[in-house]
């Protein structure tokens, strides 16, 4: 009888019309979120002013001398809007990477950082700050370091998982865990040797995640990358579904997963690397969003990827707004906030018996 209950509650909103409606609702919500979020901030600006600035910058409508330059224009167009767009891109990327990573390692506990990416990023960031080759990389040296750290480690994980046999989800997880601890050890070693307090502080803050560094130069690269990667995974929904069935079953269904798994890993590592590059480490979103969507709409990736992309984007936009306003005149690192909101939500899912994390009743 308990089984029946799960049945009713898990994936209650599975019908196709509901799914299409939901996509439209979320799209609308995303647009509204952007438009609302841009009016919220520590400096009090009137709504009319904000929209006139955006209108001027986007369509050259209105009075350029009033809205094309000056304090209001700077705040809206160079501070608030980039942050919101970046939040959207990063939220989308992390949520989608989370779904993909859970499929790759066939484990509902996986998040985008699971395969050594987080410790790789920390190592890269620490290296950039402490060893001081950062100056060679110019502007966002920490980000570049972290990006390379994350990407290189995720490649290494794949290589290690393939030594002495074909990689599979278990081997990837084990390789990820092993390389993760190597990276942490190296990070600690650098911190210990360098003895640079200011540097440690920089690393720590950076690892808490922040969208404050948003710049249009970065966004024009990152947003298209995230969108293209998301679209790519939508077209590969069938193979993602098969990842969950395992290698043997997939071969009998005509797909050899080996190459797909590596391709997906590289693409999601790029997504996470880009997110890390411009926003540091933002945990939990890549774990929470996929689970919430799965609980409501089921596991089919054809629906999950677009829904997660939209939900992740909206979630991070509002999380960032909360970061800006929760403490007056100051800003909370977004990683902290997301974890503070995310962990209770996750625990709620955990204690709700009807959601088996895809694992059914057990």
């Amino acid at each position: 009888m308990k089984m029946k209950q799960i049945d009713l509650k898990n994936g209650v909103l599975k019908g196709k019309p509901i799914y299409v409606c939901m996509i439209l609702i979320l799209l609308l919500a995303l647009v509204l979120s952007i438009l609302t979020a841009v009016t919220i901030g520590s400096v009090d600006l009137s709504i009319g002013e904000v929209y006139r600035v955006i209108c001027y910058h986007m369509f050259r409508i209105g009075d350029g001398s009033l809205y094309g330059s000056g304090v209001v224009s700077d705040i809206v167009w160079y501070i608030r809007l980039p942050r919101i767009i970046l939040a959207m891109a990063v939220g989308m990327g992390l949520a989608v990477a989370g779904v993909v990573m859970q499929a790759i390692v066939k484990n509902p506990l996986a998040d985008p950082y699971v395969l050594g990416i987080s410790s790789g990023a920390s190592l890269g960031a620490t290296f950039a700050i402490m060893v001081g080759f950062g100056s060679l990389l110019g502007g966002n040296a920490v980000g570049v370091g972290a990006f390379f750290g994350a990407f290189v480690v995720s490649l290494l994980v794949q290589i290690v998982a393939n030594i002495g046999g074909r990689s599979n989800s278990i081997r990837l997880l084990l390789a990820g865990t092993a390389l993760s601890s190597v990276c942490s050890a190296l990070t600690n070693f650098i911190v210990y040797i360098a003895g640079d307090k200011a540097g440690i502080e920089t690393v720590t803050f950076w690892l808490m995640g922040s969208l404050a560094g948003a710049k249009w130069v970065n966004i024009v690269v990152i947003l298209p990358c995230m969108v293209v990667a998301t679209l790519f995974f939508i077209t590969h929904a069938r193979t993602l579904n098969m990842l969950l069935l395992g290698d043997e079953v997939s071969i009998t269904l005509g797909t050899d997963l080996h190459h797909y798994r590596h391709l997906y890993l590289i693409i999601s590592a790029l997504m996470v690397g880009l997110a890390v590059y411009c926003a540091g480490m933002i945990g939990f979103i890549g774990l929470l969003i996929p689970h919430m969507v799965r609980m409501l709409f089921g596991t089919d990736h054809k629906k999950m990827i677009p829904l997660c992309a939209l939900a992740g984007a909206i979630f991070l936009i509002w999380a960032d707004v909360a970061c800006r306003v929760i403490i007056p005149k100051s800003e909370l690192p977004i990683g902290i906030l997301v974890s503070v909101i995310g962990a209770p939500c996750f625990i709620y899912l955990l204690i709700r018996k009807s959601y088996g994390f895809g694992g059914g009743a057990q």
């Binding site: 089984m3 049945d7 066939k106 069935l245 071969i251 005509g254 050899d256 089921g298 895809g358 059914g360």
Partner: protein, 260 residues
């Protein structure tokens, strides 16, 4: 569709498991593989359905060597129902069966009305139509196995491999699944533990022992007291009832086998 294997050898971890298997399965034949645990039944089937690569020899489907075909091509010719599948994520029954259509799909391609019709039709065949919106992991073992069978049916193949799919199912479900497969009238290769059931469904039987074919023929020819003693080290009597159905009755080793 014909399936043939020529001198197939497989080593697993340095141990030879299959030591040169030659088989020839004719079109629309229901062929059983019997043998004790560890004789290589499952390894042999896995090699045929390409999860394992033979170290030597070749497998032919309609005279075409398997290694010259893509996985998609073989999945259109050969469907597999294997041992109990456990999945860590929830799919609905519809989504599960729909995956049987994937050999016919490219990554970008959408699922068409025809695919959904095939899903309905296959669920109908296994008698699970009313379960279409249920979550797969919430079904019982017997129900799940029938859904997996429906997924295999959705592949629309001319042959099917059963890798002991009915192993821990109640006898009712075992017979149900085998009946469904038998009624398809396609080429079937199936591994069997239960000799009585093997005798009921098979046209031909291969008996394997330590990675070699030790006997081949119709159930009447293969399933004999001597073979059972050889293969399983168990005494038995093999009778035929008036319908011509073979019955194997096992005798406890202690009481009879030793006193003789």
């Amino acid at each position: 569709m014909e399936i043939a294997t020529k001198d197939v050898k497989v080593n697993l971890g340095g141990t030879p498991i299959l030591k040169g298997i030659n088989t020839h399965i004719k079109n629309k034949e229901f062929v059983g593989i019997i043998g004790p645990n560890g004789c290589g039944k499952s390894t042999f089937l896995k090699t045929v359905y390409r999860v394992l690569k033979p170290d030597n020899g070749c497998i032919y489907i309609s005279n075409q060597p398997l290694e010259e075909m893509t996985y998609k091509e073989t999945a259109k010719k050969m469907a597999v129902v294997s041992q109990h599948n456990y999945y860590n994520f929830d799919f609905t029954v519809r989504e599960m069966v729909l995956m049987g259509r994937s050999p016919y799909k490219k990554n970008m391609q959408r699922d068409t009305k025809e695919d959904y019709d095939i899903v309905d039709e296959c669920l109908e065949k296994v008698g699970m139509s009313s379960y279409i919106n249920r979550v797969f992991s919430s079904l019982s073992g017997g129900e799940q196995q029938r859904i997996i069978l429906a997924r295999a049916l959705a592949q629309k193949t001319e042959s099917m491999i059963l890798d002991e799919p009915t192993n821990h199912l109640d006898i009712k479900y075992q017979l149900q699944i085998l009946d469904t497969v038998k009624d398809l009238g396609i080429t079937v290769i199936s591994a069997f533990h239960d000799l009585n059931i093997a005798a009921m469904y098979c046209d031909k039987i291969y008996a394997l022992q330590a990675g070699e074919v030790v006997s081949y023929g119709t159930p009447q020819e293969v399933i004999t007291t001597e073979l059972i003693r050889n293969l399983y080290e168990v005494e038995s009597s093999v009778n035929r009832n008036e319908d011509g159905i073979l019955h194997v009755i096992f005798h406890p080793t202690r009481s009879k086998g030793e006193s003789r």
